[in-house]
Amino acid sequence: MKGKKLWGFGMAAVMLASMFTGKISAEASGDKDVVTALLPPVSATYQDKINSYVEAFNKENPGIEIQVTTASWEDVTQKLDVQVNAGSPPDIAFIGSDGLSKYVDSGMAVDISKYADEEMMADFDQDILNYFKNGDGMYGFPAYCEVQCIGGNRQFLEEAGIDWKKVQEEGWSYDEFREAINNGVVKDGDDVSRYGFLFACAGVTAKDYFSIFVRNAGMPSAFDKDLKYSYTSTKMLDFLTDLRALIDDGAMPKELGSIDAGKRWNMFLTGQTMITGKGLSSFEKSARDNNEKLKNSDSSAVENSIEVDYIVLPVPVFDGGEQQAYGAVDGYICLTGERNPDEEHLKNVAKVAYYLASGERAAQTCQELYLNPICESGRKAYDELSPIEGKNEDNTKAVQTLLTQVGEARPDIPAELSANAIKIEDEVIVPKFQGLLAGEVSPEEMYQAIKDAAYERFGEDGCVNN
């Protein structure tokens, strides 16, 4: 009985203590404006560094406190979507700019152009900053622009007689590319032991193959300047025919539709393909790390892999197209909830978003991802960092060239049109494209399906008809 009483007193004491400490801590943060952020592991060490970034900011800005919630890449979008639809999102979240229209359409994104200083906005490359604009509003700051292209094995490229340096500098046409990847095929009897080109296309990753290549086929966006849906152009039919031909030639595997990102990287490192996609500049690091493991006979090296010198290559240009690069622009979106924050809080949110996207933070993130910063403060900080040892300078130059070719953002496309285009992409283009890759849907059938869906949503007058 005595023990029970003691236990009861103990529990009561703990409850009272926690009430008091809770009150004290609430009072402590009550003086400060709390800015919440939901962040994924942007780079390998980002989530380790974020605490020191936040600490430094909180020290410099005693009136503001950043509270960070971290989430894995797999969970972050779902977590954010749930919070947005529950009406209580974080103030800042890290997203891909292609998802911007969704949050703008939900009414939860904040136009921070009213709250951010002019210098903050002027710090960024305006073409890239535009990726975080929709209509007249600016909803966040970009962290980086990752050029998505293709990459090759230097040794195999040279064996196939491809002047890869020239390709990096001048690009290549579809015909040149087709010839090159046909030359890269190696056969062992009737079986192919090495393909010329391989792109991860399993499931929804087929969307990447389509999106990255279609830009160079004269359709840089789903809408032209007159806001007409462009994928109904006859250029689309030629583009689809050209892509199918690469499989029919035997330069790409006929099982392309089942090869996921992991499998294609494995096939690249094990010498089963000369060129792979999608290619990111950070793949140079992944290949180099594996080379090191092979040299050191490390058992964690990819099984049956070979030493690979990764070469960044541009996507070929199709008939009627121009050299463009697909830039995945990710960054910090600013959101509001049902709590209707005041102007002071929104100014603080803009300040925190800028802080995370610029300066030393941008420099370190970009260096880790083998990217070039896209803001002036980031470039300055980048120059002060110790350079990456053994980085392929040709790749660095190629990425710089590709960055200048990144297609312009289209903030002029209304959110509703964007949402309809995304639906056509998800419900018609990607499924039909998977069928095209499997040889079950002809280019003509796919083109017709796109036209039918587009006419239904945008009307014939709302589509390009040439």
């Binding site: 779902q78 979507d81 947005v84 639809n85 529950a86 009406g87 969704k102 359409d105 939900s106 009414g107 939860m108 079986d191 399993a202 499931g203 929804v204 087929a206 595997p253 006929k254 099982e255 392309l256 539709g257 089942s258 090869i259 996921d260 499998k263 909830g337 049902e338 949402a419 995304i422 639906k423 998800d426 419900e427 990607v430 499924p431 039909k432 998977q434 069928g435 890759l437 499997a438 079950e440 849907v441």
Partner: protein
């Protein structure tokens, strides 16, 4: 003999006790009832209301039957329903037939051996869906060196693009569903088989019944309640299937494996169209209910629960 006053007192005591007992009964069912109200009833009512709305976190508008109209106009919805039906029609009977057969073969073993088999078959049920999808992707590797393709090569059959071709993608998902879900049905069937009194078998032996005759005339009728239960829950699960298509094919190629569950998920969490997603979910629930009632009427006339 009791005097009327005493009897009245006893009655009052009994009533009081009954009331007290009833009160405790209500207290005990309060927890599951509250859970049911919060996690089932409220979401269902909320979904029904949302199905008539264009939901936005800050500005929801009432749209009447628009979400139902757009659902019924959407060709992909019918394709998804057809895919779901095909998946269920094949996966459920095959799974039940295999689990029933395996249970019959496991039954004669000693308890320890039975446990080993049960554990082996039940293992996929406790593995995470993501882990299972990795294993099955490895099995369905489309290259000639892939596991299943290598086996086919032994029999002179050429490589198949299992998940990449609309001819084989659905079959691949069905095979995966069947083999990943056998464990639960086997355990339930074995429990039912163990419940059959041995005198029935002895009587059948005396009558000179063969193994198959015993299965047909003794086992099958005796496990009918279990079969009906597994068929109904299997059909419900089949209609609600989402995970395998989401993880293995994403609904492709050419929407050949897009199930109703995946369509609803995409509508809600990809496009934030909660109203239409709720409308689709309620239509699916109605279809499942019709199937369940039909199954009961067809096969469960002589089964009591």
């Amino acid at each position: 003999m009791q005097y009327p006053l005493e009897r009245e007192k006893t009655m009052a005591n009994k009533k009081h006790k009954l009331k007290k007992d009833a009160l405790w009964g209500y207290v005990f069912i309060l927890v599951p009832l509250t859970t049911f109200i919060i996690f089932t009833l409220y979401p269902v009512i909320s979904a029904a209301i949302t199905s008539f709305q264009h939901y936005k976190p800050l500005k929801t508008t009432w749209v009447g039957f628009d979400n139902y109209v757009s659902t019924f106009k959407n060709a992909l919805f019918y394709k998804a329903l057809k895919n779901t039906l095909v998946y269920t029609v094949f996966a459920v009977p095959i799974s039940m037939f295999l689990s029933f057969s395996i249970s019959l073969f496991i039954l004669p073993f000693k308890k320890r051996v039975q446990t080993i088999f049960k554990a082996a078959f039940y293992l996929p049920a406790i593995a995470s869906g993501v882990a299972l999808s990795f294993v099955w992707k490895w099995i369905y590797d489309p290259m000639p060196t892939g596991l299943l393709n290598s086996i086919l090569h032994i029999f002179g059959i050429s490589s198949q693009n299992w998940l990449g071709s609309s001819k084989t993608a659905m079959a691949s998902l069905i095979i995966m569903a069947v083999f990943s879900g056998l464990g639960t049905s086997i355990i339930i069937y074995i429990a039912a088989l163990l419940g059959i009194d041995s005198t029935y078998y002895e009587a059948a032996d005396i009558d000179g019944a063969s193994f198959f005759q015993k299965v047909r005339y003794v086992v099958w009728p005796m496990v009918k309640p279990t079969t009906v239960f597994l068929a109904i829950t299997g059909v419900i699960n089949g209609f609600q299937s989402f995970q395998n298509a989401y993880l293995m094919t994403g609904g492709g190629p050419d929407n050949a494996t897009t199930m109703a569950g995946l369509l609803i998920f995409n509508r809600a969490f990809k496009y934030f169209e909660y109203g239409e997603a709720c409308a689709q979910a309620l239509i699916l629930a109605a279809i499942i209910a019709v199937f369940a009632v039909f199954q009961f009427k067809l096969s469960a006339n002589d089964v009591e629960y």
